[in-house]
Amino acid sequence: MKLPEPREAVDRPIYLRYRYRASEQANRFLHAIKKGKILGVRSVGTGKVLVPPPGVCAESGTLTPQDLIELPDRGTVLSFTIVHLPIPNSRLKPPFVVANILLDGADQAFSHIISEAELKRVVIGTRVRAHWKPEAEWDYGLENIEYFVLTDEPAVDIEQHRALRLEEAARHA
């Protein structure tokens, strides 16, 4: 018996609707970033300042307090890479830098983009500040910061910075 012609694909669509609600900490963070403010939280277990603020500190397994801390939009590059691929819908043209940025007063870095024509100027320890989108475009997300740019400050010694941060965390733990 001759088998029917094989088909390359059949449709089996799956649609599920969810009523997702942001957690309390995410809610506070997102409402603040809509107004151009960055919030973090100090873990009661470790004394470290975490940003964005999680509901639970992963290092100590403790619930984080409701009082959040406003952080400046300046920080230090902990590590980086140079990207040669474009980001869809971004005004940023490659090559650009993706970096782990540690905001001043924070103990947990997050990833963001750095725009800099002289790529060689970016090193571990480079000081950066946020370049925000025009206020009219602010929404509930970290992408309100379009990218970071270099400041005129000298690069910092990361190991020394880390040691100072750990000392401060210990004072709050």
Partner: protein, 351 residues
Amino acid sequence: MRDVAVVSYAQSPAQRDAGGTTDVEMLVPVIDRALADAQLTRKEIDFICSGSCDYLAGGAFSFVMAVDALGATPSAQESHVEMDAAWALYEAWLKFQCGEIDVALIYGFGKSAPGDLPDVLSLQLDPYYTQPLWPDSISLAAIQAQMALAKGCFTERDMAEVVAASRRNAIHNPAAQLKGEFDVSDLLKEETFVSPLRKHDCCPITDGCSVLILASAEKARALCERPVWLRGINHRMESHFLGTRDLTTSTSTMKAAETLKLDGDKLDVAELYAPFSHQQLILQQSLKLTDNTRVNPSGGALAGHVLMAAGLDRFGAAAREIWSGRADRALAHATSGPCLQQNMLAILEGA
């Protein structure tokens, strides 16, 4: 076989909707309570194992984020099953048998409120012939109940009696979601929901979590006044294809009972994970339970049903009966899959 005992158990309240509280935020206080009861700290846990399903709340990686509740830095020995946490307990038990660990923390959690649970559960069916028809979990259970009623295995009144007993027992369970005195005749007057099931024949939708701690013999005696010994554990599964199974009985449960040489007459308590009233009757019949056994003193899954933790809750509820001195020998049962597809049995003893 290495002796392993349940030394602690805690559960969150069974809530219809936990709102914006995340899984990991629900877990922290429950883990704290389970650890405090055994006077343990997070750093003294050798192995963490959890059961959950990201499809329930629709949040990818929620099982990974849940590990944050354990303070698992810089690292931890951890595993996860996409099944009820009773199967996480089984994995932990195997690790004890390998001689690798002395203390294990098992947890299960689920937030079913954000999704449409009966439809979400159709995704566990075979994706070629059954799932594309979107049979929801309640309809499949109703088909099973219809067959068993037609065969004369039990009556609709028997089903209503299961519901009334569940809610009466749950009066004493502070974590229960549905509880109270209900008259069987009144229950039978309610209209059918998905025939022949009435709404009360179906478990509620519940957000919550549970935590249970197992320990080896040497540790257990130090951590707990009356360790609850795991004397035997076995699980069996049936075909995924519903058309090949006899849905009016539970052959996998019978097979597991046979393997454990279980005497249904010699159990003080049986905690059965039956998401539907008729499934409890099928299980009781398959296990040949008699009036000597109190069934579901906690109220069971009909009184509160945290999907992915409800099986682990049967272990916890059975252990509580032994800790309180109300029972010396108990059965914990867990199920997974549509229409009691997979079943696990464990014998728990106080001495």
